[in-house]
Amino acid sequence: MVSIKVPVVENRQYPYDSFILAVRAPEIAQSVLPGQFVMVAVADRGAAPVPLLKRALAVYSVHPEDGQPSIVTFLVKIVGEGTRRLNSVRTGEYLDLVGTLGNGFDLNRGKGKINLLVVGGTGIASVYLLAEKWYRWGEEVHLVYGGKSADHLIGLADFKKLGIPVFVTTEDGSLGYQGLVTQGFQEYSSKVPTEHINLCTCGPNAMMEAVTVVARSQEIPCQISVESKMACGFGVCLGCAVKTLDSYRLACTHGPVFDGASFVWESDSAR
């Protein structure tokens, strides 16, 4: 775990308030595991910055310089003040990072399986390294990726370039299957024997909840990458607790990847 100041090497804007930030951070690039994240803020923010806290961002991809892993990218959607400020940084400016953080996905679970990544929106940021790793290992990986419209599906090309099969859903039908990603997932999974599926999902809570409900009912193993408000990101504030069947767990150190079977969603208590 390091706390470092790193230069921005690119900030590429995408439609619908999304952007990909690339920074030079060899310390992170060399150690990051799929599903891990970093706490990020614009550097030199003064004594009482607004927003005060760093923001959690998954490492989207890693790229080499001079043959060594060096560049780390974040795929970000503007949702509020923190992501808005990150969006305004320019090449040559600096970010403060604390990382690498979190557990990451259990890679061994994917061996010899049909690895199905079910992703909604910006959740895509958490699974590219995962797809890449399993693909390199020669494991079977499929992506079900849903968004509002074709233009919302940032990063789609990167997955296609990997060569993995992609099943796209859009709410407006502008690309692929028209509907929600959860429907796409059911459509897709119905074609494979469930006992071979290893599921990983990331996206809005409501979507992941729907996916885990299906996964549980069909006894499909399912890893979920959850989001929780974080103050520190490294296990000291105890602020990011989520609920599992056993106990509260910290999203930042015990997670962000949890087993869907034992994760307790808000509406689970009502069930």
């Binding site: 775990m1 390091v2 706390s3 803020a41 004594a47 009482a48 910055p49 607004v50 927003p51 005060l52 806290l53 760093k54 403060d96 604390v98 929780s228 408000k229 974080m230 103050a231 520190c232 490294f234 296990g235 000291v236 504030c237 105890l238 602020g239 990011c240 607790a241 989520v242 609920k243 106990s247 509260y248």
Partner: protein, 315 residues
């Protein structure tokens, strides 16, 4: 070579190598920060609040960000004093930095039992009694908002304690000096303040609180002016040392508290924003002293020049 500066301070019979500590609940059990700096650089640190039995804390929805601050309602999740003694304390032996055990109980008996359990352990330098947690139903402000109860719990702990007893006060009171004096009279060796201010954030779409506990404690730069004033007021009301806390992120902030008379400061929320914040402040204090030609930090502590009748100030 920088000139030598004596940053050390004496508080309740303990000598701290510098006046910068880290605040309870923001520094884990100390070990989590080892990746960021050598915690032996600190004057000391306060453990996460310890209870007699492990506590699982509040349900999710534990924090919310606010302008220049954050609310927390962790609900005092902690491993419990036995686990702390068995598993955490041994790992702290190697660090050259004083460990203050922040403790809280639901009853006076629990406070006493905690003290007795920790008494035999030399690595614990002092106790900090948390009688001011706004986020639990029993044992928090129930003690901290009643001077009578404050007196009783402090007296009970002091009478069994083999170490200095610090008392951490709630800022959510009409007159802090009443509580500070109650502590002093009951035998407290130092006062630490402030704990967090009670606040609340509403999710205007869901029309629900952001915190499962509805309210939480406000910390961070937003509260600093409130904390500085309470520390200033308290310093004048009691003779025992006062340790200042609240929104300290920079050496300038720390100086505010020291100048009005705090014998030391604690860094809290800033540890989340920048994990090396406390070490940076130690370094900054040294530089400040050099720049101001001060060879002993004691010359800064309490150096405040009050406004006199007829004074006015342009800046």
């Amino acid at each position: 070579m920088l000139p030598e500066v004596d940053l050390s301070v004496e508080i309740s019979g303990l000598r701290f190598k510098n006046p910068v500590l880290t605040a309870s609940g923001t520094f884990g059990y100390g070990l989590e920060f080892a990746d960021f700096f050598d915690i032996s650089e600190l004057g000391g640190f306060c453990t996460k609040g310890l209870s007699l039995h492990p506590m699982k804390g509040n349900a999710p929805g534990r924090i919310a960000e606010t302008p220049s601050g954050m609310l927390n309602a962790i609900g005092l999740e902690n491993v419990g004093v036995d686990c702390f003694i068995a598993e955490k304390l041994p790992l702290l032996e190697g660090f050259d930095c004083l460990v203050i055990a922040n403790i809280f109980g639901k009853t006076i008996e629990e406070f006493v039992a905690l003290t007795e359990k920790l008494n035999p352990h030399p690595k614990v330098a002092a106790y900090e009694l948390n009688i001011s947690c706004p986020n639990i139903k029993e044992g928090g402000v129930q003690f901290g908002h009643d001077p009578e109860m404050t007196h009783r719990v402090v007296q009970a702990v002091s009478s069994v304690s083999e170490k200095p007893v610090w008392v951490k006060l709630s800022p959510n009171v009409t007159d802090i000096t009443v509580f500070a004096r109650a502590c002093e009279q009951a035998g407290a060796d130092a006062i630490t303040l402030v704990n967090t201010f009670v606040g609340m954030v509403v999710d205007v779409h869901k029309k629900r609180p952001m915190l499962s506990n509805t309210t939480g404690g406000l910390s961070g730069p937003a509260i600093r002016p409130l904390a500085v004033r309470l520390v200033y007021q308290t310093v004048q009301a009691v003779d025992i040392p006062v340790i200042g806390i609240g929104g300290i992120s920079t050496v300038r902030d720390a100086l505010e508290f020291l100048i009005v008379g705090a014998r030391a400061v604690q860094v809290g929320t800033a540890n989340f924003v920048d994990p090396s914040a406390a070490a940076r402040i130690v370094e900054g204090l040294r530089e400040h002293c050099v720049k101001e030609g001060v060879s002993d930090i004691d010359d800064i502590i309490g150096s405040f020049r009050p406004i006199e009748e007829g004074d006015f100030v342009y800046y």
